[in-house]
Symmetry: D2
Subunit: 347 residues, 4 copies
């Protein structure tokens, strides 16, 4: 970087799984940088692009109207090669060759570990911007892409409910979030799912087919014939929603149908909330660069802009809201009603 | 029914898998009937409701603003019991007990077979209205719900493309249509899918993993790194999209991800096209009743209202458009270009 | 064009008001042309681009994934300059300079009149592709963009109904279609609007404020308190929806609220139906070129591909469906019910 | 209310302009109350229903699957009658006659003033739940319905941008918020609008047609031909978007088109964020009742549940975020770039 700490050129990457709103963050970085007369270079395909010198100059006209699209105009990727010391050194060399004064990475915890790795070999300021649908980064209340992913899961659950209501059936919808139940609990609450299976809850007391069958039967008994919709986070059941549906259908005398949303949750027009968050954090990242901060993630905590050491984002644990778990699991449990009238049912 | 062929009361059911737009058809039947001073009785849960005398009087105020919702306000079901002679006789008895003059059933081929069965035991006019997302009924260009289902599949494919483009991956999206490839080919064409696996094409010359791997590799070679999206109709691959993704990932050196839309395709706000079609066919069904027609399905063929004997709707075969297959499979095949330049590649 | 009638290079423009699906048509032309080894040159901003030699070579990679976006990648415009003889001659000169063998224009009647004008000065084959949300071209059952525009109008009407129901109010939604009521009648039918004001109906017997007040009051009397939603085509009321709302509010003792959708109707993700139609017509246009046809519009009539002389597309009149008008205006009129019970009310 | 402070029966109303998510709040109140064995009575049409004894018992089955719909199942209204002392006294009498122990009102500042009025005549606990798209209530970071309204405005702006880009034109989109620019600034930021006209900014230094013309011309000069989209809050320009478009078109040599969203912004499927917020606040309101709190609004401030004296919600002023205004107005202003290069342009 330039000897006098002046920032003339920022390198920018999107890394790891893409998230809706990454383009809005790219735009914000470029527009804010331009405002201060700073150039932005985008390396394509994340750290791979830094290693391959695969880059593009990003100007206002390149980013003007990209906010409404998912994906990332500079593409994303995971890079094994970069994780080695040799990879880190090569990346640093390339950044210096391009006279890069600061490095901004938009991504999740894997991408931030990468930033940490880069810092061993390169000494310019490095800023992280939280872009992941999983919302599992400590140091920010929301990550870019999370709100859109919840909206997408909710949309599927609403549609499932339409047909579930018409036909009185059991449905299992598998959503993303193998390590964190944010998408799971939010979409379950937004759609009034009768049951949710989240990593946080599975850890302590994993559900069995028997317990699920019992709950379904209780709900049906309390309500009369009715629809039953379950939200299952990925990796929380061997064989996923497809297998669980088979197991339940074997035990119940009514059809059980799986739905596996998969990467549909990464696409779609970003919500206003994600675009605004991405805009704020992209601008914030440029401001942090200008303040000569390094090794931190730009975040929003309790509505205020924040900066959290990168390593804390994955070592500290953001907890699922107990308030929401309590509402969804105890307060609104459809068979609660029954339990109050007679205490025979145990769930 | 009344001895003088006057229609005073119509019975209405929705039967089989529900389809978006069924509510619009119910509304149209009720409003058109009311216009002629005819009462409408809705039996709930399809033929089950006829057997169980589970019914509701349907008036204008019940149906005024239900068009925007999927599902069916009189619920749907499949009935095993009704298929027996005893079931048919009981249904007929119940219809007579309610002084029903005509019977309208909204559903697919299974529901129309049921209507045929009913006709053995009951001699009032019976009219079918094609309500199924599969679009596989002979005698109508489109069935109610098909356009919405295609739109839903397209929405998922668009979202998958967003992330596929960002990450350069292979995706397999499993859509409905175990016997007919309408949703498959239309959603594939609407999204520019690189490959589609349809029942009609599988019949003659089933695809192998090897052929698929070869095609994927050719496409990637021609295009450079790129996204590859495949539309798979249900029941066309052992283990479905989940298994096929595993098989492809074993053979290719890049991630393959499945998506299983399932019953999401039955829900969602009906499209304008489905609502208008449902409205036209609901009105048409009432007009056919008033013309003392029976045993026919109300349809739209080449933009004109039509009436097709119920049995033809499942014995005659509506063919997938060869024009569309040709465009999607030959004309737009991404590796075609290469083939023209050199003839070495065989696909 | 080349002396031996071989087509080596096609010029393509999008002209007049843009319509969702134009990009899908561009893609289809390019992919189909490429399949036959034909180059495609896109002139930007319609006829303006031909006059300004503002063009771009269009290859597979340029059009691969543009179908999901509205607008047009080669932009559209109206051109006054081109309408003169001098303009026509200049355009012809430019086309020859680029060794253009055929000319395809995607647009509405104004664009086709332009094609007719061009034909006086240039003698290569000229093919029209119907791209306009208004659906008012003779020779094709649907135009590209129409289905999406109806969907957009329907979406607004559905949302208005939500709040209308909650608050019992009168709403007027102004939609596009100053000369043709297609968007008007289809969106009105899809949403069960209580009233529609279409150019076709206004021509014979224009509505007065008095007639509207009388109808609203009758509906409210018959139904008890209730929502009332009116679809107004643009240019059918002096001052539009804003003025009409004021006039009605002056006469009724309840709030009347206007909504003016405007160009929102030209945007949004094209529906599957529009993408498929655009794909078929783009391919069809290339096939017509290869058959040495000229001066015709590629269309779809009663599901079959058709070719209609360009001049007929605006001289002959495509009629609004009387079936739909009858359903919406007479059969489903909410106050009809009352009329049947007593014949005192005249509407 | 019962002498021993036990809560057995809660009265619930939705009041004032309806907002998406009100149904989710109704559901939450009913489910949380049921969990504690408390009955809920819904009065229909807001305070009008209390005066008219127009009510309905609300049970789990009434609210189970209403979250996905806008509007309010117990309808809303404004009531002039209730504002008098006589009205207040009558309402209190009716609440006592129904043995109501607590009163929950979902609405905006007008509804909370009503609650304050009621408190003069009735001494049970009264809790407000913030339901208004305007987001202008002090004491909660977000109001129920706001996020959905922003999403709806964004959707329209995205569509306008599609066509604006295709045709290079000026568009003015009028959104709700006559006293508060929340919807205005959020939708403007989410869509990258070139200009926004908000009540907060108009107050100090109202914009003139001349200033707008100058800005538009500067943007067009800097960018070359391009689209220009303006967000106008209602009531901030005499004659609204329609008149402003005429005025600009008179002065510029390019088309200017208005769009007036109106009550479309009150409808539509509530977003996940609104449903979750409504659920949390509905539950919170019941908890506040059980804690014998009164005269407060349930809110969420910096992610935490809060309770704010009702009178503060309209006397204290929630300020628009200066961070957002600064980003949108200064940092991202398209002509900023030019200004930096030469200082001649003043905006």
């Amino acid at each position: 970087m330039s000897s006098d700490n002046t920032i003339n050129r920022i390198a920018l990457i999107t890394s790891g799984g893409d998230a809706p709103g990454m383009n809005a963050a790219i735009r914000a970085v470029v527009l804010a940088a331009e405002n201060y007369g700073i150039e932005v270079i985008g390396f394509r395909h994340g750290y791979e692009g830094v290693l391959n010198n695969d880059f593009v100059r990003l100007d206002r006209e390149d980013v003007e109207h990209i906010m409404q699209y998912s994906g990332t105009i500079i593409k994303s990727a995971r890079s094994e090669r970069f994780k080695s010391d040799e990879g880190g050194r090569e990346a640093a060399t390339n950044l210096d060759a391009h006279q890069i004064d600061a490095f901004i990475v938009i991504g999740g915890d894997g991408s931030f570990r990468g930033a940490d790795h880069l810092a061993k070999f390169w000494n310019g300021p490095i800023i992280g911007v939280p872009g992941t649908i999983d919302n599992d980064l400590y140091g920010t209340d929301h990550t870019i892409g999370y709100d859109t992913a919840v909206e997408t899961a909710m949309d599927a659950l609403d549609k499932i409910r339409d047909t579930a209501e018409a036909m009185d059936r059991v449905f299992i919808v598998e959503v993303m979030g193998r390590n964190a139940g944010y998408i799971g609990i939010s979409s379950a609450m937004a759609c009034g799912a009768e049951r949710m299976i989240l990593p946080e809850l599975q850890k302590d007391k994993p559900l069995t087919v028997e317990a699920l069958v019992k709950h379904i039967e209780s709900v049906q008994r309390v309500r009369g014939d009715s629809s039953y919709v379950m939200v299952l986070c990925e990796n929380q059941w061997p064989g996923g929603a497809v297998r669980l549906a088979e197991q339940l259908e074997d035990r119940l005398n009514l059809p059980c149908r799986p739905c596996l949303l998969g990467h549909v949750q990464r696409g779609g027009r970003p919500t206003a909330m994600d675009r605004i968050l991405a805009t704020r954090l992209g601008v914030h990242a440029v401001e942090l660069v200008r303040q000569n901060q390094t090794g931190v993630m730009a975040g929003v905590s309790a509505n205020e802009l924040s900066a959290t050491p990168l390593s804390e984002t994955w070592t500290k644990r953001k907890k699922l809201s107990e308030e929401l778990i309590n509402i969804q699991q105890s307060l609104f449990n459809p068979i609660k009603k029954n339990r109050q009238k007679s205490t025979q049912t145990d769930d």
